[in-house]
C-alpha cells in the first residue's frame, strides 16, 4: 500500500488562504454557504479515496472499540476534549463568540480542577453545555469561501478552507507552548487515540457507506459537505429552505 501524494497546489493554496484570511476578517466579507459540489481535483481525490478505503478495510471492523473498556475510552475522550478547550476558547474569541469563549474557558477550568486534569467531565455534571469549534469555522466566520473539495489521506473528506483550518489548529494550540516536552504530547496523543476509538465504534456505519455504496467516493463527499455546512450554519440560525418534491 503506497502513500498517495497530495497535489502540490493544495499546499500553496492553503498558505495563501491563511494569509488572505486576516485581510478578509478586516474587510468583513459576507458568509456564503454554497449548496453545490466544487470538486476540480476529483481525479486525484479518487486516488486518495481508494487508499483510505483500503486503510479502513484493513482495520479489524470495530475490534479496537470492543477490546478496550468503554470506561477507558471515555477517559481518553474526556482528556482529549479538555485539552482542546484552550484552542476552542481562542477560536471563539477570533469569531467574536463571547458565550462560546465563556463556555470553553469554564469547561477547561472546571474539568482541569474538579475533573482531575480532565479525566472526569465534571462540567457536564454541572450542566455546562459542550462547545466545540475550530479554525476552519473561524475562517468561515471571517467570510473565507469553502474552496474546492479535498479528500485527505487518513483524515478523509475536507475542503480547502478546512484544510487551512486544520493546519493552523495544529500549530496554534496554546497548551503546546505552555507545556514542557513530554506533557506537550498528551494533547495530540489523546486526540489521536480518541479518533481511533471513535472510528472503531463507528466502523459499522463507515463500512456501510464505503462497501455498501455504488460510488462511495461520491457518497462520502456529499455526506461530508452537507454535515459540515450544517454545522457552520447552526450559528447563523437561518431557517433551512427545503426542496418541495410535490412541486416538481
Amino acid at each position: 500500500m503506497s502513500m498517495p501524494t497530495l497535489p502540490k497546489p493544495i499546499f500553496r493554496s492553503v498558505i495563501g488562504l491563511v494569509l488572505v484570511a486576516g485581510l478578509a476578517a478586516c474587510s468583513g466579507a459576507a458568509r456564503v454557504q454554497p449548496t453545490g459540489i466544487n470538486d476540480p481535483h476529483e481525479q486525484s481525490n479518487r486516488k486518495v479515496h481508494a487508499f483510505n478505503k483500503k486503510l479502513a478495510g484493513s482495520g479489524n471492523g470495530g475490534g479496537i472499540a470492543k477490546a478496550v473498556p468503554v470506561e477507558f475510552q471515555t477517559v481518553i475522550h474526556n482528556i482529549s476534549e479538555n485539552l482542546s478547550m484552550p484552542q476552542v476558547a481562542v477560536n471563539s474569541v477570533l469569531q467574536g463568540d463571547v458565550p462560546g469563549f465563556t463556555l470553553a474557558s469554564t469547561r477547561f477550568l472546571v474539568n482541569s480542577v474538579l475533573g482531575m486534569g480532565g479525566i472526569i467531565d465534571a462540567a457536564s455534571e454541572f450542566k455546562v453545555p459542550e462547545h466545540d469549534t475550530d479554525f476552519g469555522e473561524t475562517l468561515y466566520v471571517w467570510g473565507v469561501g469553502e474552496g474546492p473539495y479535498y479528500e485527505l489521506p487518513v483524515i478523509g473528506p475536507s475542503t480547502r478552507r478546512d484544510v487551512a483550518g486544520k493546519v493552523v489548529d495544529l500549530f496554534t494550540n496554546p497548551l503546546s507552548y505552555r507545556l514542557e516536552s513530554p506533557d506537550s504530547y498528551v494533547a495530540p496523543v489523546t486526540g489521536f487515540a480518541d479518533r481511533v476509538f471513535k472510528n472503531s465504534r463507528r466502523s459499522e456505519v463507515i463500512s456501510d457507506v464505503l462497501d455498501g455504496s455504488a460510488d462511495s467516493y461520491a457518497q462520502a463527499r456529499l455526506i461530508y459537505l452537507q454535515k459540515r455546512r450544517y454545522e457552520l450554519s447552526q450559528r447563523t440560525g437561518a431557517p433551512a429552505v427545503y426542496d418541495d418534491p410535490y412541486a416538481q
Binding site: V70, E130, R201, V205, D208, G212, S213, A214, D215, A218, Q219, L222, I223, Q226, K227, R229, Y230, E231, P239, A240, Y242, D243, D244, P245, Y246, A247, Q248
Partner: protein, 201 residues
C-alpha cells in the same frame, strides 16, 4: 391516436369520483398539532419494535411495514430517481418505488441497535412549503445528541413524511446521488438498477 370522447359523462361515475376525491383529501388543513402528533406516533411505533426485540430479519420486516405506512414512499422514490425517471414506464416506476421502499427500510433499519436504550424527543414544529418541519433530538447511548428532522405533508392525500435530515444530511439528496451512481453503473437501465436495489440495502 384518437380517443373517442363520450358524449355524456356517466353521472354515477362522476358523483362517485367527486365523493371519493372528497374522502381522499383531508377534511381540514393540516395543523402543527397533527404533524407533531404524527411524528410522536411514528417514534413510539419504532420503539415498540425495538423494545419487543425480535430477530433482526423480523425487526427489519416490521420497519419496512412502518416505513410503508408512515412515509410517502412513492414521492420519495420519484425524487431519488430524479430526471432519469421521466422516460420510465409506469410499470418500471412502480417496481422501482417498491424496491426503493424496502431498500431504505433495510439500510436504515439495520442501524436499530444504536437506538437501544436511547430515546427521541420532539423539539418543535415549523410551517414549510408542503407541510411541516418537525425537529427532534435523538439521545443515543454513548453518543452526543443527534438532531433529526422529519418533513411531513398531506399532499399525498394522507399525512406522511417525505424526507429526513440527520445532522444536516438530507436523506433524499444522498439517496438521489446513490441511485444516480447505480444507474451510471448500469448505463442508465432502470430495470437492472431496480434489480440491484433489491440486492442492496
Amino acid at each position: 391516436m384518437m380517443i373517442p370522447m363520450p358524449s355524456k359523462i356517466d353521472r354515477r361515475l362522476f358523483v362517485g369520483g367527486v365523493v371519493s376525491l372528497a374522502f381522499a383529501r383531508p377534511a381540514a388543513a393540516l395543523t402543527q398539532g397533527d404533524a407533531t402528533a404524527f411524528i410522536k406516533r411514528l417514534i413510539a411505533d419504532i420503539y415498540k419494535v425495538i423494545d419487543a426485540g425480535g430477530s433482526e430479519p423480523a425487526m427489519i420486516r416490521q420497519f419496512e411495514a412502518l416505513f410503508g405506512r408512515y412515509a410517502d414512499v412513492e414521492i420519495m422514490a420519484q425524487y431519488a430517481l430524479g430526471v432519469d425517471g421521466r422516460s420510465a414506464s409506469a410499470a418500471q416506476k412502480s417496481a422501482f418505488s417498491a424496491a426503493f421502499g424496502s431498500y431504505i427500510a433495510q439500510k436504515y433499519g439495520k442501524r436499530f441497535r444504536q437506538f437501544i436504550g436511547g430515546r427521541i424527543e420532539v423539539e418543535g414544529a415549523r410551517k414549510i412549503k408542503p407541510g411541516f418541519e418537525i425537529k427532534t433530538t435523538a439521545y443515543l447511548k454513548g453518543e452526543n445528541p443527534i438532531e433529526v428532522i422529519f418533513l411531513v405533508s398531506d399532499k399525498s392525500g394522507e399525512l406522511q413524511f417525505f424526507n429526513m435530515f440527520l445532522e444536516g444530511v438530507n436523506l433524499l439528496l444522498t439517496e438521489r446521488s446513490e441511485i444516480g451512481s447505480m444507474l451510471d453503473r448500469r448505463g442508465g437501465d432502470l430495470t437492472e438498477t431496480t434489480q440491484d436495489l433489491k440486492n442492496a440495502g
